[in-house]
Amino acid sequence: MLTFLVFFPVVGALVIASLPRDQERQAKWMALGVTATVLIVSLIIFAAFDRNAEGLQFAQRYRWLRAENVGFDVHYFLGVDGLSLTMVILTTFLFIVATLISWNIELRPKEYFAWILALETGVLGVFTAQDLILFFLFWEIELLPMYFLISIWGSGRKEYSAMKFLLFTISGSALMLVGFLALAFSANPSTFDMQALQGAHLSSTVLPLPLIFFLIFAGFAVKLPVVPFHTWLPDAHTDAPTAVSVILAGVLLKMGGYGMLRILAGIMPKTAQDYAVWLASLAVISIVYGALMVFRQRDLKRLIAYSSVSHMGYVLLGIAALGQVGLTGATLQMFSHGIITGLLFVMVGLIYDRAHTRSVDELSGLAHVMPVIAVGMVLAGLASLGLPAMSGFVAEVMVFLGAAGRFQAPTILAVVAIVLTAGYILWMLRRVMFGPVNERWMALPDAVAWWEQVPIAAMLAVILAVGIYPARLIDVIQQGIFPIASRLG
């Protein structure tokens, strides 16, 4: 089941890539079919998931490389627990959104959808892999599709941004690989099996454990991103096509947070406890710096990008709290940020398609011209600043509750930063949506096509559903968080 889930997209990608040239129109329908199938499969898994059972479910495990006598035993090992499953649902949902909002893409559509689907395989693999090497493998597979998606279908300094994204990520992941190898060797018997490592007693054999911890942290910190490793993100967001921005903010950043939860907190709980203050400090720096940078932005995409940096800081803060509530909050924050920011990028993309500008200074009074987009944008903005009854509120409250007991000052700073961001987002919304009507934008059409309206409605529905009745999702998340939190003691 999980194998099908992970590899069906890439099979679809191969089929699409081999379509004859005169049937390029078919590509988007096939991509929609594939992403819809994957979404349905993931929902079936969600429905069939036993929230009361412990441990992994739907696990599949086969030996891939057999050399256990030299500590190099790689398994093809997929499985989901509540933590993975939440991320999987987020991924499958956002990929179908990404497919829909790319509906009228003109340039080389066949390759475009093939790369999108290849990317989906990489991301789903990261969230379901239970073997460090397999995890790393999927982690790297995601790079090439992203490079091509940004550098072919992007705008502005697209090749520079794509390269920057790639070099940042690969530098981080290279250090992460050293960390993984050293980590596997620190356990006795040495293994790459993440489940076995979780219970294993670790000792500093080749490298001191804190060094291993921060080598691995480097890989995840680039991805999340944590200030000061964040500079690739605004560039990549600004120059990426809309759908790729949605995926980047919605899913790829979560790979960093997921890795921290699963591998740093899950496998190295003692070291994580020792260095929690450092993580919390980095988190607050990210939150405050991101929030302050938001004030300087005039480009809507860069603005959202920096608000993402700030929001990802909350994830790190929740993780640094290293308790049941904080970790659950961090996971929920990842899920809800994925959908909220995804929605924001969708709306900005729609505006940009019509007005061909993303400048806050130029846009004004759009609510009068395009009411549907305005509603979507305003609701997404409100959700983003954490309005109650929306998913962001629940997540942030949990993060603050989790962190407050442990780090008072950082939590207060973080709460202050949230107010700053809220003020700025409201100001931006007022200006872009409700300012004086500008003649220039009078003739612009609203979002009328089904492929524009369906994803907006679906995303709003999810945001509200999680905001009003979070228990269904939190139960699932807790199933995954509980074993991690209990090992943290």
Binding site: W64, L65, R66, A67, N69, V70, G71, F72, I133, L137, E140, I141, L143, L144, Y147, F148, S151, I152, E159, M163, L166, L167, I170, S171, A174, L175, L177, V178, L181, A182, F185, V206, L207
Partner: protein, 492 residues
């Protein structure tokens, strides 16, 4: 004596085949000459079959008074060299048709292969030197085969520097002979040998041993292109014909590392009192090679020079595995088995890259990277194979190179060489930039000309075969991994 001749049958068959090809080539008639590449392939196939028969009849033994060992290690390399030579023959068949001296080209290629096979089984300093010279001289000839200005310069540079390297190796061997009184690396019957000398751990011999280690490591580093003994590489790769450069970059490197593993793991021994000394030598060479090779590669505009520098950096990666002496469990050294696996994966990868470049360059008439703009749309297969080979050289999935690097890094981590692995992964990130720049040029830039580029059927087969090998070894690495581990058992 004579009854042992069958154990070097694979080598003898190739030498006979070389003679036959040479003779037929003299006929100077087009019809006969068209069959030459198939003759060479036939010779390689016969050699491989002979080797299979040897394995099936369990003929493994140390023969010729302990100078030659037919064991899992040499058998692995026999198959590797035959495979590499076979792919090179298939890929260069059309290219060679344009040459005047066709029979000579194939004969020298087969002789070089036979010499390398002999080298991988050599357990005696004299046989090592003879086989090394035989393969080196064949390679000098191949490098200069085009006989234009560039090729002549390449050949001359190669032979001059190569002669110095040989002298250095010989000097190192003289030290060893001087203190041990024997040329045997190991001796089965407990007689005098370098291994037994080293195991006595006599402090009086230490200085001489270290001198020998440094000299031998320097000389062999020339053959495998480790910095600072790499000067010949970019010029030779650029000047020599592309199939020759492909052969040199893969086979010569594999042979060099085979002999390094023989001499250092069998002779000096990883756990002896000089073990950490030679491990440090190789760790240093590895760090310098990776860094220098990658930084120089960043500056290249010619794709063959780029591959030249990249192969220097790759030699550094492989040397990481050689340096990982302490990594062993149950007597099985995982450093060398990583090296052995890497060499095979690297063979497919680098051959694929060179063949694709050969096919593309023949049509566009240029080796400049900027002229590769938009090649992906004109030649999807060739560009695809080149891209996957570059991914593999970087060490990213989904490719054989991923497992190769992972295995070697894992061995080094086990061997307390974490600093070296950090150098290596930082270098991996650097190398990603220049490999990706070529891939980006092929896929992102608009083509300067229109029109499909297609390679001849033989060349396409070789390109597709190598590319497929890179992918298959990613999905199913364990048969080769298993073979590599068994091969290393022979090193004891």
């Amino acid at each position: 004596m004579l009854q042992d001749l069958d154990r070097i049958g694979p080598e003898l068959i190739l030498m006979v085949a070389a003679g036959c090809v040479l003779a037929v080539g003299l006929l100077d008639r087009e019809r006969e000459r068209a069959w030459l590449p198939f003759g060479a392939l036939g010779g390689l196939a016969a050699s491989a079959i002979w080797c299979v028969v040897l394995v099936l009849r369990h003929r493994q033994a140390v023969v010729f008074s302990g100078t030659f060992s037919l064991d899992t290690f040499s058998i692995f390399f026999v198959f590797l060299f035959i495979g590499v030579a076979g792919l090179v023959v298939i890929a260069s068949a059309d290219f060679v048709k344009k040459l005047r001296y066709q029979g000579e080209f194939w004969a020298v290629l087969l002789l070089a292969t036979a010499a390398m096979m002999l080298l991988s089984g050599a357990r005696d300093l004299i046989l090592i030197f003879v086989a090394l010279e035989m393969s080196s001289i064949s390679q000098y000839i191949l490098a200069a085969f085009l006989r234009d200005d560039r090729a002549t310069e390449a050949g001359l540079k190669y032979i001059l520097l190569g002669a110095i390297a040989s002298a250095v190796i010989l000097y190192g061997m003289a030290f060893l002979f001087g203190i041990s009184g024997t040329t045997k690396l190991v001796s089965a019957d407990g007689g005098p040998s370098i291994a037994s000398l080293v195991s006595q751990a006599d402090p009086g011999t230490r200085a001489a041993l270290i001198a020998a280690i440094v000299l031998l490591a320097s000389g062999f580093s020339f053959k495998v292109a480790l910095v600072p003994f790499q000067m010949w590489v970019p010029d030779v790769y650029e000047g020599a014909a592309t199939p020759v450069a492909a052969f040199l970059s893969v086979a010569s490197k594999a042979a060099g590392f085979a002999v390094i593993m023989r001499v250092f793991y069998e002779g000096f021994g990883p756990h002896s009192f000089v073990g950490s000394d030679w491990s440090n030598v190789f760790a240093g060479l590895a760090a310098v090679s990776m860094t220098a090779g990658n930084i120089m590669a960043l500056l290249q505009t010619n794709i063959k020079r780029l591959l030249g520098y990249s192969s220097i950096a790759q030699a550094g990666n492989i040397a990481v595995g050689v340096a990982a002496i302490a990594a062993s469990k149950d007597g099985l050294a995982i450093g060398p088995s990583g090296v052995t696996f890497f060499l095979a994966a690297y063979a497919f990868t680098n051959l694929g890259a060179f063949f694709a470049i050969l096919a593309i360059s023949q049509r566009i008439g240029s080796d400049k990277i900027e002229d590769y703009a938009g090649i992906a749309r004109r030649a999807p297969l060739l560009a695809g194979v080149l891209a996957i080979c570059f991914v593999s050289l970087t060490g990213l999935p989904p490719s054989a190179g991923f497992w190769g690097k992972l295995y070697i890094f894992n061995a080094a981590i086990h061997s307390d060489l974490a600093w070296l692995v950090i150098v290596a992964v930082v270098n991996t990130a650097i190398s990603f930039y220049y490999y990706l720049r070529v891939v980006g040029t092929m896929y992102l830039s608009p083509p300067s000309e229109e029109g499909e580029i297609s390679a001849s059927p033989m060349l396409s087969t070789a390109v597709a075969g190598a590319g497929l090998g890179v992918l298959v070894l990613f999905v199913l690495p364990w048969p080769l991994l298993h073979a590599a581990e068994r091969a290393v058992h022979a090193l004891g």
